[in-house]
């Protein structure tokens, strides 16, 4: 596999795009302890749908909700644990 290389023309072209856009280029979700995303790490409706797919014939919706809430809480705690050592985040 060849090395990653941009020749001068390509480099100047992408720099031109940056200049024309005249904006930041940042991408990604705000995974910090202040983020609502970190507080609710998993989409609840999607999680319930997934559980219904696998367990819907065995467990009631109420039971699946209990499981989903437990998963959400455990996930949230794990995220908080990992971010707490950087309190300014």
């Amino acid at each position: 596999m060849m090395d990653f290389k941009l020749d001068e023309a390509e480099l100047r072209a992408i720099a031109q795009i940056e200049e024309e856009a005249d904006c930041d280029i940042s991408a990604g979700a705000n995974w910090s302890v202040r983020s609502p995303y970190a507080q609710h790490p998993i989409n609840h409706e999607k999680l319930i749908a997934l559980l219904q797919d696998g367990l819907g014939e065995v467990l009631s919706l109420e039971e699946l909700e209990d499981i989903a809430l437990t998963v959400q809480e455990q996930a949230r705690c794990r995220v908080m644990e990992k971010t707490q050592s950087t309190p300014s985040a």
């Binding site: 596999m1 090395d3 990653f4 290389k5 941009l6 001068e8 390509e10 480099l11 100047r12 992408i14 720099a15 795009i17 940056e18 200049e19 024309e20 856009a21 005249d22 904006c23 930041d24 280029i25 940042s26 991408a27 990604g28 979700a29 705000n30 995974w31 910090s32 202040r34 983020s35 609502p36 995303y37 989409n43 999607k46 995220v79 990992k82 971010t83 050592s85 950087t86 300014s88 985040a89």
Partner: protein, 184 residues
Amino acid sequence: MRQDIQIIRGSDRQLVDAVLLTLGDKHLDDFEQRWKEQLRASSEADQYWDWVAKNRIYGTSDTVEGYAIECDAMTQGLMLIETRLHRSQVDRTRRLVYVHSLATAPWNRPSIQRPPRYRAVGATLLRFARYRSQQLGYGGLVGLHALPEAIAFYEKMGMIDGGTDPDMEDLTYFEWYRRREESE
């Protein structure tokens, strides 16, 4: 991984030598010591991002790779990519490289410093994500969620606008998509 590259100095538009390499402690230290204070004092959408925490949460995963660009012995840009779990939103049968996080140093942003100290840092990292996608056999497909201030850049880079994503803080999803025959 360590690769010699070039970026463009903002003051005189001259090409200067830089290096693209695997994310390491030096880059996280630069973030803590040199980036963080300037970002916190700004109104940038990523002003509260914490790359040390991001790296601690994701950097240990087998599917996540971290990269940095250094120039003048200073970290100029940072990127985390996910390489196995994400699929194209255009064609769900195809995998892509997902840019988990991408940012340039505060002095490389026109919103903070004019002219920016260096240009083409973020775009080079993005092109490297596409290169990794090609290396991995994904045909150059790359996906990401852009911060609101960055939408114009990704549009101009030719990425497809997939609309806002309610699962990702309503950020706008962008994808570099090419049909299989174009990727080969």
